[in-house]
Symmetry: C2
């Protein structure tokens, strides 16, 4: 799509990132620890709850291929928001998981693809009438809406849920921030984080490691729980 870029500046001119870096610097002396233990994949909240419908993974096979899929998350409350849709092979799985929640694809108001990789945007077509946000592009049907995500500004869905720009893994990634859950603030982060302890791998997978590192640090300052793209959700402890 062409539209959004007409109002988009390159992400390294982001106001948000500049603010975030400042915050990260201010918090540089705080000790941050990440932990997977003791967290359920169903986080209740008021007004929004967050469920991991499928936990992403990435495993090397002996034949040189990799098995991989992206995490699929559902946010339920005043509206229903799906974050990432898995790969094309997840179509029937995704419909079945929604049904378990008492939902059909038609009940999903907003679908967010954190970035345009095939294991995250494989099933956008299940939601032809939803608001679709993929990276910095926001569309309803074939109508693309102006926004400032690629200029570094959040796109609020309401007072509790916002789409925020977190580029680096690709050029225009976004994450979804949910406030007010029983675990505090949850960030559904796509591949900003591969998994809890991904220090061995994330840079090799990044189109822009420097920008991604800035956004990872920002995320660790604002989120109590992070749902990564290819592993279990984890808690952030700031001490």
């Amino acid at each position: 799509m062409a539209v959004m870029y007409l109002v988009c500046k390159p992400p390294n001119k982001s106001h948000r990132r500049r603010r975030s870096l400042t915050q990260a610097e201010m918090n540089a002396n705080r000790s941050i620890r990440k932990s997977e233990s003791g967290l359920s994949s169903e986080i209740s909240g008021q007004p929004y709850s967050v469920s991991v419908l499928k936990e992403g993974y990435c495993t090397a096979e002996s034949d040189g291929t990799f098995r991989a899929d992206g995490t699929i998350s559902l946010i339920t409350g005043p509206q229903t928001i799906l974050v990432d849709t898995g790969g094309p092979w997840d179509r029937d799985f995704l419909v079945a998981k929604l049904k378990e929640k008492g939902l059909t694809p038609e009940n999903v108001a907003t679908v967010v693809g954190t970035h345009g990789h095939s294991d995250h945007v494989g099933n956008l077509g299940l939601f032809p009438n939803a608001k679709i946000i993929v990276g910095c592009d926001i569309s309803v049907g074939d109508r693309y809406l102006p926004n400032q995500l690629a200029e570094g500004e959040p796109y609020p869905i309401d007072d509790f849920v916002s789409v925020i720009p977190t580029p680096g893994h690709m050029g225009r990634d976004v994450s979804v921030l949910v406030k007010g859950t029983s675990e505090g603030t949850v960030l559904v982060a796509g591949d900003l984080f591969e998994r809890c302890h991904d220090e061995d791998s994330w840079k090799e997978l990044s189109e822009n490691p420097q920008i991604q590192e800035s956004n990872r640090q920002m995320a660790l300052q604002i989120a109590d729980v992070i749902i990564p793209g290819h592993g279990p959700l984890f808690r952030v402890h700031r001490e």
Copy 2:
């Protein structure tokens, strides 16, 4: 997805691009003209024919939004290859167009998403069993295959059809090159070109205009017909 990047180098280290630049330089004195006239959207060929199932568009609306969709192309011959799938709203349209051709989604062996924007990869989920190529990621089910696209190497489907790396619009775009049609070599180019005469707009839509410009020049040297992402196909005249 994480896998491909383990074997991928940043596109500006591309061997292919370096070779292409050299070729472009060698051909710098050749006059190139582009023209939309006199071309059918159905190009026959041996062994492969190319059809434009939907011509992409991008039009500004008076309310500040844009109406946009990506071109959907079908390559038929020894195997059936779909290049780009339109936006999520195109699901029923795409199934109907395939049916007009005597095909079901199950008949499509390979689906290429030239890049991960929502108006190009909206219907990957119609093809859960196909080989899926989105940008530099190649998968069959959740198994991701090693390849060198992001290092600048083509990914040949057979002697007549190749996926070639053409980044710039996004970080890891690809195009599909079809040799041996009645119009010569056809390049299904995604948003490498918005339309025939897009000099007023393509750079604003580009994540990396310098790299995209190199790949545009390369494309104009190797293709006789280009199918762009948001306008009618056009002929390239080299004189």
